[in-house]
Subunit: 349 residues, 4 copies
């Protein structure tokens, strides 16, 4: 029996990356998974090849309009839509359809948080597609509704959660995450033009204003026995892909600044994770090592003089940070091997 998969938002970066991964998925290659409808908003009616020329095998496919009728006849529907649109579409699809949402609609537990950062009605929560955080994987097996995490939370939470969960640090975390421009999507904004991006590093959403802030807090607070204070600053750098998250927190009272012991905590946390690789001591994460892959490189160090723990993670915002997490979630939802179709080696240099 064939599993039929649709991608809504196929002309954007996240949708394109889902398709790139599906094209390399053994299920698609052996025919057990079929790539069905590809939909878009304003780009409906165009050939995919004119908008995503890198998806050569699908170049001739026509984009259809994103609506429940087109998406309805599929077993799996990936939603790669602007936030606020997923809830609407999802509500009109049958419960038997596996919906994997790359938007923010079903990530936040608190209605007040949703309203504060996104505005308006809170849609609810779905199982959270970051299986590497304790307790999450179980809920994804066979799930029919999955909320894929934001790209910054994926990086920041994988970097700092083991330290928070083990009580190594006080719950006062500072995150500065450097990201490539594709994280901002394919939006027509002057500040995203190549001429403005190239040669420039700039912060945005400073002062706790970025929408991923409550998601990082929510993920961390689960393991801290109380709300964790998080200062999050995203920085845009002149590269298309990749996030490097630097997370700094004061060592908790009584914790010895023993780097070996702290590294052992991280090694244990990720020992069985196929996609999280704790680097050898002395080696630091770099985004180039994980581009195009579903891999996360993590390192942790201690700044003894400052009494801080410094944890870092590098991932590809479009792969592990979005589309790779989505396909990983699909694999879990469908009962396939979790790593199927997901590259572990990055494309470098």
């Amino acid at each position: 029996m064939t599993t039929k998969v649709a991608v809504a938002g196929a002309s954007g970066y996240a949708g394109g990356e889902i398709l790139r991964l599906l094209l390399g998925h053994p299920g698609v290659q052996d025919g057990s998974i079929e790539i069905g409808a590809l939909t878009a908003g304003g780009n409906a009616g165009a050939a995919l090849g004119s908008l995503q020329p890198h998806l050569t095998p699908l170049a001739g496919r026509m984009l259809e309009d994103t609506n429940p009728e087109v998406l309805g006849g599929h077993d799996v529907v990936f939603l790669a839509l602007p936030h606020g649109k997923s809830a609407e579409i999802a509500g009109r699809l049958a419960e038997s359809v596996t919906i994997i949402d790359c938007g923010a609609d079903f990530r936040l537990g608190e209605a007040a948080e949703w309203d504060r950062y996104y505005g308006g009605h809170h849609a609810g929560t779905w199982p959270y597609g970051l299986p590497e955080l304790p307790g999450n994987r179980e809920a994804l097996h066979g799930a029919k509704r999955i909320a894929v995490p934001g790209c910054y939370p994926s990086s920041a939470n994988l970097a700092i959660t083991p330290a928070v969960a083990a009580g190594l640090v006080r719950p006062e975390v500072t995150v500065v995450a450097v990201s490539g421009s594709s994280g901002a999507g394919r939006s027509l904004r002057t500040d995203l033009l190549g001429s403005e991006i190239i040669g420039s590093a700039r912060a945005y959403g400073v002062g706790g204003a970025h929408r991923h802030t409550p998601e990082i807090i929510q993920n961390l607070s689960r393991f801290a026995g109380g709300e964790v204070s998080v200062s999050f600053t995203p920085v845009l750098a002149p590269m298309a892909r990749g996030i490097l998250a630097t997370c700094v927190a004061p060592l908790a009272p009584g914790v010895t600044p023993d780097e070996d012991a702290i590294r052992a905590v991280y090694a244990a946390a990720y020992a069985d994770e196929p996609f999280v690789h704790v680097l050898p001591q002395g080696q630091l994460p770099q985004t180039s090592s994980v581009i195009g892959s579903n891999t996360v490189h993590v390192q942790v160090t201690v700044d003894e003089r400052a009494g801080r723990l410094v944890a870092l993670a590098a991932l590809d915002n479009l792969t592990k940070g979005t589309a790779g997490g989505a396909v990983q979630s699909m694999n879990l939802a469908l009962g396939l091997p979790e790593t199927q179709g997901l590259p572990i080696a990055g494309v470098a240099p």
Copy 2:
């Protein structure tokens, strides 16, 4: 039975890319192909992960010394060595070993050409690993010795050969090819530092001095009934990967500047090629569409006012231009499906 594969030069860019592709090869994934010795020169003794951190699954592998003893016990040996080194190593491996050479040693037919551009003794020629040029594929089936083409010839020849072979142009070709910095390898040179590469376009090897010039000429002349005059200028652009070759030639006397007819020639030439994609009219090749893939995007247009044919090709110099061509050649040599393990979709944006 397992096919055991070694990579000589595993700490360089070409060697790393061969390994990245092998990691995604179905043969490696099902165990029928085994990644054996990884060797290096000065880096022997180091862990691969310290030099190629993107090859996470092989991070713990130790680099051995490049010598015939280490390489000897393998069924397939990829050579990704400085030119002039391959002949020496190859001469000391058994004839039963399939050797796939990414260097220049066995590409040029004329001893005088070799001496002029590389200096010294000419090693001979091997079947040429560009199956998309007429007549080449046959010689690669079951071959024990293969010379992988240079990255510039791969792009320039795939762009302009159909026009030359069909007699559409006079045999006076101008090629200007823009390349990413990885084409220069991992050499420590001031002019390859990030600070010098970023923000700069610069030509090099101007005036016919680049070593790929005779290879482009040799490939073209086979189809022209005489030596083709080629002016080749490589230009370095601030990107890590990718080549965009622009080839310009005067229309031959009597050829009507009919773009549809000329496009039909190209469509026919590449109709059965899995890795060469002639773009729809009006769409132009861009390197971002083919990064990390074995795909070549080709377009041809006519400049009626100037009486010239302009043909363009985009490919990834490390993938189709080197390591992808090498794995494609391995597939042919081993009797495997030609496309196995070779991505067709590029990593974009």
Copy 3:
């Protein structure tokens, strides 16, 4: 007496660069030149600092609407507007106003050429702001109307004109020019987003379609005794600024391929030019050497085997290619020293 200068189109890249140069101009620093109205289209009403944050000294200036009333009371008006707009504005300014147009409206001599490449009514021609081509400088002294050349013609014509004028080559020139993204202006187009520009080289306007083609031809034909056949291909590279033009032409019959003699022709052609620097033999132009400056680096070589002359030029498309050429023209028009306020050293690395 103070010379009052207005800039129309001050929120775009060309307008911003004019202002950057004016801020460093001795006339502005000693008060003999005053920066008057800064105007824009849709951005009128905004503070300049919100759109051009690099122009710190003018951050508080408000953008006014581009119209003849606002521009009228100035001695010099720079027009950095979309093509077709300059003629309209210029027609409504007094003849006593020195107008320096960075647009294309007054560059092409032939009405048919204008109609073919830009469409519609031909506005006429003004003295051409490329004083380095023989005969041009004289017409700029005291001129009240000046057409600043296009950035590609500035580079291509400075590279190849000496060879054409001296009869060294046949009048069949191939130009491939690699440009940074700022040449496309600050337009909101998906293909100009940072995520699409970074990591990609792509040609555009292939087949003689680019609007700068007839301008290159017109400039060259003046020195060739007949129309020169030019094939021009622009290539976009992942950098914000800079053009590297590679120009290739067959050596004329009877011309000895003597690089020294040919270099002497170039050295003589530019001996007295403050902004054109013929590089020493063996050194090749790179755009990074001229960024932010009004300098052009030129080199010429001979490809003896192919019988071609290869000439290259590097310049900054926004400085010498647009705003620097405009300020240089202003200096000539006002009787100031030609080099005033124009950096010769580039910003590198």
Copy 4:
């Protein structure tokens, strides 16, 4: 009387930038300052143009050997040498020579700090060339020995000092600073190759290991009444120039999170500084705005939820961060107007 200036280390990035600024300095243009000896280590004997092709007006100058004899006959000597070399040279120059050291030798007050981070004998301290920190400018007037600050301290300290000095924050600062590759100098290291830098963000010197850490602490502690705890993480981004420093600190007990009041503190601190520009509320620093200039863009915000102050600064590491600071110091030392020859507008886009 002419002031004769030498630059030791003229083939490196810092030395090249000093020369670029000197070429635009009114003193050099009117002949009151003369550019004398240009010296180098291994590059002595080469023409400057072969190593710094962007310094076109000095292209023919020959590099001499860096030694006290060559440097001796000058009024001002800029030292742009590897750390540890300045002390040696300086000790052999007459006291009447104004020495401006871009190295680290004379920055740190504590011998133990020097030994810990640089190793070996502590040379002492000189007046510190960051006039924007209270108390520093006075010591630079007429100084004969000046230590130019490190590029990271220049950015971090200008961002966070006003908050620390005003007691707005607890003395526990986290700094994550994103830098371009030129900060690493022109060293031949594999990890600085363009192919490795492009497309990658990576941290280094993590855990307090970077040598600029004690300098940031020393500068801050002067204003805090005790040692400030600083966690400093530098991150390399794919750009040639620029530093964006993000500084985060907990609001001090009793401080109201009133952004207007906090902004007023910053506005007052920099009211008279020609090179420090506090951006309007809502506008964030970006390195592209200050490239090639001596300007620093600063912003400060409050994250009320997290109880933190977030301060940011952008500067050009080679200009304000090194060579611009050096020329600014020279101006003060020679009694020239402080801003002479130092661009305030950046080169953008």
